[in-house]
């Protein structure tokens, strides 16, 4: 046991003292913060610019009804051919041009045919939101015209329209909003992604450290003093402690940043938590609502689950990574074994992204959040939506049992592999090693 402690200490210190580790610890939150800032800033910047669109309306039907909104502005021109219009519009440096051709028959207009003849012409491909915005506007106008044509009273139709905005509430009686849903999706995805990244980053760290010992040929000296299993576990635990240190530092930094942000907006997390009367605070409502949704999440459950799934998921994958490191002589050779263990993680991530927001308690989500190779990632995506404690306990129990089984296999391969040099082993070789 004393030996394992020594190994853990060495692994931990080598990792933590490593310059790139220090750099990553400090820079990552800064880079993420900067990225978020950039994305937000650039998006708002992009949306602000006014888009002038020339409308060549040869029918005269839209001049009164088609109105600009948001960042779109319409300029009407009449009675031009398509080619003439194009030259004018191009010289004016507009965002684009809408061309509506002349009608053949003014008395009995076929609006369906008309809708198909409307064209949007521009230099660059226009943004999807602009196009769908314009489509919406034309749809509405043409539908109304059609109603009129067949003798329906538009006012009556509008009066009889009913708009539904469901008020949401959980069984525990907590009110939820749409923002809650969005935050759950985003938060779940972030948690799942983080776990996925951590498992890969720290797992491959273990693998590299095993390969290093093998290529340095120090391995034989070490295992003449300690058992290979001790070395492997010491390595895995030491690296995971280094990882936890990093996560802890990021958490503290994140907490500080969150506090700065909230005080910048003008509210404190306590205020949001204690009172529902956020409306009284005079601030832009979206960030406030977002923060409120954030604090509505089962944060304690998320934190505990995250640490458990991080540790267990990492331990599970790190043992596999350690076995791979022992089996090969250098990192390039590890590719053939990396693929099969990456697949479940990647499936977990992408299937999780695809299915969990849609239906957090659907069959596929539930299965993947119990299957040990995908459960850390998928369960973390589900937990913000609320997963019963029993389900979490079952999933974690399966994970723990699998972990012990995998460690047993990994240790066998590790024990033999670290002393094997030269030939790149096949799966058949690995199977044979299990029986040595």
């Amino acid at each position: 046991m004393n030996h394992t402690r020594l190994i853990i200490a060495r692994e931990y210190l080598t990792k933590v003292k490593n310059k790139s580790f220090l750099l990553m610890t400090i820079l990552t939150p800064l880079i993420i913060g900067l990225l978020i800032f950039l994305v937000v800033y650039l998006t708002s910047f992009n949306n602000d610019s006014l888009k002038t669109i020339t409308v060549v309306d040869n029918t005269g039907l839209f001049a009164n009804s088609l109105k600009g909104s948001g960042s779109i502005e319409f300029n009407f021109i009449k009675e031009l051919s398509e080619d003439e219009a194009k030259t004018i519009s191009m010289n004016k440096n507009d965002y684009g041009m809408i061309f509506i051709p002349q009608l053949d028959d003014f008395t009995n207009v076929d609006y369906e045919a008309l809708s198909k003849s409307i064209k949007f012409i521009s230099d660059d491909s226009p943004s999807l939101t602009v196009i769908s915005d314009i489509e919406d506007k034309f749809e509405k106008i043409l539908t109304n015209l059609n109603y009129k044509k067949i003798g329906l009273d538009i006012n009556l139709i509008e009066k009889s329209n009913i708009y539904v905005n469901l008020s949401q509430e959980s069984f525990k009686g907590e009110e939820t909003t749409k923002t809650d849903g969005v935050i759950k999706v985003i938060f779940g995805l972030i948690l799942g992604m983080l776990l996925y990244m951590f498992i890969f980053i720290y797992g491959s760290m273990v693998m590299r450290s095993v390969i290093e010992e093998k290529t340095n040929r120090i391995i034989e000296i070490i295992i003449s003093s300690v058992k290979p299993t001790q070395l492997m576990m010491g390595k895995i635990i030491g690296t995971s402690l280094a990882g936890l240190t990093q996560v802890l530092i990021w958490n503290i930094l994140g907490f500080i940043i969150l506090n700065i942000v909230t005080s910048f907006i003008g509210i404190s997390p306590d205020q949001i938590n204690s009172s529902g009367s956020v409306e009284s605070i005079e601030a832009s409502s979206f960030p406030v609502e977002m923060l409120q949704s954030l604090f509505n999440l089962p944060l304690l459950n998320i934190l505990i689950a995250f640490i458990l799934y991080f540790i267990l998921g990492y331990l599970l994958y790190a043992s596999i990574f350690a076995a791979i490191g022992a089996a090969v002589d250098n990192e390039t050779d590890s590719q053939q074994f990396m693929l099969p263990i990456s697949i479940p993680l990647i499936i977990g991530l992408y299937v999780g992204i695809g299915t969990v927001p849609e239906d957090p308690s659907g069959t596929i989500s539930v299965i993947l959040s119990h299957f040990p190779l995908t459960s850390p990632v998928v369960m973390m995506m589900r937990i913000p939506f609320g997963v019963s404690i029993y389900e979490q306990i079952i999933s974690i129990t399966i994970l723990i049992i699998t972990f012990f089984a995998i460690v047993w296999f990994a240790a066998k391969i590790y024990r033999v592999g670290i002393l094997m040099y030269g030939k790149k082993p096949s799966y058949k070789d690995l199977y044979k090693w299990l029986k040595y």
């Binding site: 020594l6 080598t14 340095n216 040929r217 070490i222 003449s224 003093s225």
Partner: protein, 309 residues
């Protein structure tokens, strides 16, 4: 004589490959024991079993009369043939770590390291990384790490490889000194001249089997053919040669002398003593050169291996 280590019918298989087949050896306390054999004979497997890196399939190993167990790890020091240290770790830190893994306290390890670093005059290396050292320098560090915890059994696999002659000599002297201080040394090498120079016992392993073992002098006694290298100054070489051939077996030999002598390798027949030969030669000419041909470790090695084929 007391044996520090006894391997009793040790076998080890890897899949279908038998790496050791019923190998038994006894290593006397305080000896330098040469573990010899061609490449791939099974020496490393045996050494790994002694180091408890692998476990024998059958047979047992006794260390000081006890079944080999993890408590013995600190009594054994092992310098593997494939050397290696953590490249980016500092020399001192690394040596301390490895010593602690062998069960030394940090304080003890530091004290011993100071002694050895001082002895080899390498105290300035303490804060250097291994990558900054030359191969020979790293080997020295590795040697220190092997002997630091004063093990009663030391296993050196090709200890001189990578050293220049001067440093090889320093290491050789240290090995002899360790033996004099009471350590037993297992010495695995292909360099027969160092076997000749250092070993008092040997075991020869060939194709997973032990084919020869024992006291090196005893083995040489068994292998010697009672042949003498002789240079005689005489009047008529041809007559003398036929006279000798009538009584003994002889072969023309060539070696360097200062005169124009008759040079022969003469073998005794059964029941003849060296004195009989010497007296006979003495009465027929002037004996300038008379040496018993003792087989070298190299001869024994090659002969034994070839006999196996």
């Amino acid at each position: 004589m007391d044996n520090i280590l006894i391997a009793d019918s040790v076998s080890k298989e890897f899949g279908n490959y038998k790496a050791l087949n019923n190998v038994s050896i006894e290593i006397p306390k305080g000896s330098i024991f040469g573990l010899l054999g061609p490449n791939g004979a099974g020496k490393t497997t045996l050494i790994r079993i002694i180091n408890q890196i692998s476990i024998p399939d059958t047979g047992k190993v006794l260390f000081n009369g006890e079944n080999l167990n993890p408590n013995h790890i600190r009594d054994i020091g092992y310098l593997p043939e494939e050397r290696g240290l953590y490249k980016s770790m500092k020399v001192g830190e690394q040596a301390l770590y490895l010593a602690q893994l062998k069960g030394m306290t940090k304080k003890d390890a530091k004290k011993q390291l100071d002694y050895w670093f001082d002895k080899f005059d390498i105290t300035s290396w303490w804060d250097k990384k291994i990558v900054e050292l030359s191969k020979g320098m790293a080997q020295k560090v590795q040697f220190i790490v092997t002997v630091l915890h004063k093990p009663s059994l030391l296993i050196f696999d090709e200890p001189f490889s990578g050293f220049d002659p001067i440093n090889a000599n320093i290491i050789k002297d240290e090995i002899l000194k360790l033996r004099d201080e009471g350590s037993t040394i297992i010495f695995s090498t292909h360099r027969m001249e160092s076997v000749e120079e250092l070993c008092d016992h040997i075991a020869l392993i060939h194709q997973s089997n032990k084919v020869l073992d024992g006291n090196l002098d005893d083995i040489k006694r068994n292998y010697k053919t009672n042949t003498f290298e002789v240079a005689l100054l005489c009047d008529n070489k041809t007559t003398l040669k036929s006279l000798i051939n009538a009584k003994f077996k002889s072969q023309t030999a060539s070696f360097r002398t200062l005169g124009d002598e008759l040079k022969l390798n003469i073998s005794l027949n059964a029941n003849q003593t060296p004195n009989e030969l010497l007296n006979f030669l003495n009465s027929n000419g002037q004996v300038n050169h008379f040496i018993e041909l003792i087989p070298s470790a190299n001869d024994i090695f090659i002969q034994t291996i070839n006999n196996q084929k």
